[in-house]
Amino acid sequence: MNLRSLGALPVAIAGTLIPFALLLVVFWVPDDADQGFSQRIFYLHVPVALVSYLFLGLGAWYAVRYLRTRDPIDDLRSYVAIHQGVIFGSYVLLTGPIWAKVSWGQWWDWGDRQLNVFLILFLFYSAYFMLRFSVDAGPRRATLSAGYALLGIGLVPLSFLAVRIAETVIHPTPLIRADGPQIEASMLVTFGLMLAGAAALGFALFSVELRGKLIDERMRRLRRRLRGEAVL
């Protein structure tokens, strides 16, 4: 399969879905019964948060794979996935307080479960880059990074439990319950489209960054070969 065409597909999907879903958010979905117009930030905040979780999970998954296969490409994938997870995460931490300010009247609610678990994970994975860039490139860096990313798998459920114990009050109820969705079909469709668009954007950025890193690596090798150094 052609690498180039595979990379273009998510870009095309994201480029179509996100503007389309944005139009739906502004013109089609009804106002939330409780929060009114401001609830519409939900269609940006929540899909991006889910995609961020997805990429952090993907990063941990590739870390496990690296420890099994010792294939440098898995280390690179793990790093790029966590990088995308943290980038999307910054966006979540930016939109979360805006929503909180409008609907709860304060920028940050320390009693809120999702927000705080996210913050802990964000801090944890930001430290991943500190670790990674304090070690010279090579198998050792890959191994240490993978070990740290692995610890994150345990941290997710533990943080959820901990924040749940510490939590005090409110949070909007879950979207989907056993007795069917609580929200209107139009809201669910818009949310689904935005989620698909955000995920496609994530994969597009992921593959672009990954390919860029691989090209860098190849360039480095070619330069060294040009200088007449021995290259593996």
């Binding site: 994970l121 670790l131 070690v135 692995l150 610890l151 798998i153 114990i165």
Partner: protein, 227 residues
């Protein structure tokens, strides 16, 4: 498995023996904990009595974590500086025991510090105060459980950091987010016991944390450790 426990015990005993002879780390950690507690006392001086008791329940956990961090800074120093690490890796032993030995030794050190720290906290914050103090039994149980998690997670990240440049700077950045759930659960147990609420949930979470971190670190350490 029996080989694992035996190696763990031997390595932990080696660390504790070195510490018993030099006493460098224990003294430093003890003094650090004391100084932090004095600072905490002044930092909360303006608060009302009831608030100070509540604040103290959280501050004591902060002091424990920061003191543990001080211990972790030196945790793998001897191994790296004296080249012991390479010898350990060459030896035909279960490598997870290297992590477990460090964790056991640090747990013992933390216990030692807390034996001094807890009475001092009482003296500074709860003695002669009309505010409700946390239950001593709950606090000790929570600290005992948290020690395992702090030492387990801490030794794991300290081992990762010890292979990196600027490891002293790196360690706190790696360590603190990883132990955030421990602090939340510990504070919930301490404050809950002062307010007469049930504390089984937070104590259980401390136990779960120990188990999850223990299994993850034990399983991964062999693959993660590098010369």
């Amino acid at each position: 498995m029996s080989g694992f426990w035996r190696t763990t015990w031997l390595l932990a005993r080696k660390d504790l023996l070195l510490e018993a002879r030099s006493r460098e780390l224990t003294l430093a950690m003890g003094l650090f904990a004391l100084a932090s507690l004095v600072l905490a006392q002044y930092a909360t001086g303006a608060a009302a009595e009831a608030d100070r008791a509540l604040l103290a329940s959280g501050l004591v956990w902060l002091v424990v974590l920061f003191t543990a961090m001080l211990g972790l800074q030196r945790s793998f120093a001897a191994e790296r500086d004296e080249g012991l690490f390479d010898a350990l890796l060459l030896a035909p032993l279960d490598r997870s025991a290297i992590w477990a030995g460090k964790a056991v030794a640090l747990t013992a050190l933390l216990l030692l510090i807390e034996i001094v720290l807890v009475p001092l906290t009482w003296l500074f914050f709860f003695e002669g105060s009309t505010a409700a103090a946390p239950s001593l039994v709950t606090l000790c149980a929570a600290l005992a459980l948290a020690n395992l998690g702090v030492a387990g997670a801490g030794s794991f990240v300290a081992s990762l950091a010890s292979a990196a440049r600027q490891r002293e700077v790196l360690l706190p950045v790696l360590f603190l987010p990883a132990v955030t759930p421990l602090l939340i659960a510990g504070v919930a147990a301490t404050v809950g016991s002062a307010q007469g609420e049930p504390v089984t949930q937070p104590l259980l979470l401390l136990l779960v944390y120990d188990a999850v971190v223990g299994v993850l670190a034990w399983g991964a350490y062999d693959h993660v450790i590098t010369e």
